[in-house]
């Protein structure tokens, strides 16, 4: 049984991808630009160069410059505003920490794309939070979005450490 099992397992090595698919995939991959080995700062600059990533970061720092999403919320929503401002403050601290880690750590290549994806997600959450709060549609949902952004930033922080 053992012998048969091992022999049959080896048979599965015959599984191969289709040659048409392989040729097409190879061509498409090699047509993509790659990063070359550089100093960490330049590596980060290359990530920043990606349009989606750049837009994401610009949005985040724009929100930071505004002093937070909840500056523009009506005062009648005091409790939510207080809570949101607390989280917003924490987000800004975390962003500063992330900025520092990006500048001073040599980021593992496997993590670069994950960090990029997470930053994009953060931006989307913050954008949605901003939209919800501006239209005063649903401040509770907006707060959830901000919390979600905060959690994603914690994940990024963990990847950078």
């Amino acid at each position: 049984m053992n012998k048969n099992l091992l022999e049959n397992l080896k048979e599965l090595r015959q599984i191969q991808p289709g040659s048409d698919y392989s040729a097409r995939s190879r061509f498409l991959i090699l047509a993509e630009p790659t990063t070359t080995r550089n100093l960490p700062v330049f590596k980060i600059a290359q990530i920043f160069y990606r349009p989606a990533f750049a837009i994401g970061l610009i949005s985040i720092f724009f929100l930071m410059a505004l002093g937070g999403i909840y500056q523009i919320i009506k005062p009648s929503q005091n409790d939510l505003v207080v809570r949101a401002n607390e989280i917003n403050g924490s987000i800004q601290v975390k962003l500063n920490e992330i900025k520092y880690l990006i500048e001073h750590n040599d980021i593992n290549a496997e993590n670069i794309l994950d960090i990029q994806t997470l930053l994009e997600k953060t931006t989307n959450e913050l954008k949605e939070a901003s939209t919800l709060s501006q239209k005063n549609k649903d401040l509770g949902k907006s707060l959830e979005k901000i919390k979600s952004a905060q959690e994603i930033l914690l994940q990024i922080n963990a990847l950078l450490k």
């Binding site: 049984m1 049959n8 048979e11 191969q16 289709g18 080995r37 590596k43």
Partner: protein, 181 residues
């Protein structure tokens, strides 16, 4: 590490697409096999394999030589890609539904030929029923015949942990095969 592999990797790190192309030719079949046996669907396996190599090409500048074959790094990316794939699928389908509805028995070529061999087909079905960790070790140790050291590197585990996992995986697959008879 295979002959000339280190040089190819160094060239790829410098951005030479032709060198990465050769690495692709060398490793793509086994990465595809690894993914195919885990997702049981030809087109999904093709898409995921494409993503693995695209990601590795885009991030190869950060690759560090640590005395392991390049494939260990690719397997790690492939595992993460499969985990993400199931994470996305999880909300819509559970794994049982996937194995019932998405099995690609209509695959052409060698897979269809293999399925004519009922023993091999049974083993392929049994692999689908294993946990992801047991699948990994069965594929890497017994199908790809990687050494303990290489498998440990690909799975980010110690060699002792791989031995234990391997023992349990074999026991499990035998049980599944017996139960299915």
């Amino acid at each position: 590490m295979l002959d000339g592999e280190k040089q190819l990797i160094e060239q790829a790190i410098r951005g030479e697409a032709s060198a990465f192309g050769l690495l692709y030719d060398r490793y793509q079949p086994q990465i595809y096999r690894f993914i195919y046996l885990k997702v049981s669907h030809r087109e999904e396996a093709e898409d995921l394999t494409h993503q693995v190599f695209l990601k590795s090409w885009q991030t190869i500048s950060g690759y560090e030589f640590q005395g392991f074959p390049f494939s260990s790094w690719l397997y790690r990316i492939a595992r993460n890609q499969v985990i993400d794939y199931y994470r996305v699928k999880k909300n819509n389908l559970n794994l049982e539904e996937i194995s019932e509805s998405k099995i690609d028995d209509s695959s052409i070529g060698i897979i269809a030929i293999l399925d004519d061999n009922s023993d091999v087909k049974k083993i392929k079905e049994a692999i689908k029923q294993l946990s992801p960790g047991h699948q990994d070790v069965i594929i890497l140790r017994f199908i790809e015949e990687l050494s303990l050291k290489e498998t440990a590197s690909a799975l980010k585990k110690t060699e002792i942990a791989v031995k234990l996992l391997q023992h349990r995986a074999i026991k499990n697959i035998k049980k599944i095969l017996n139960d299915n008879e």
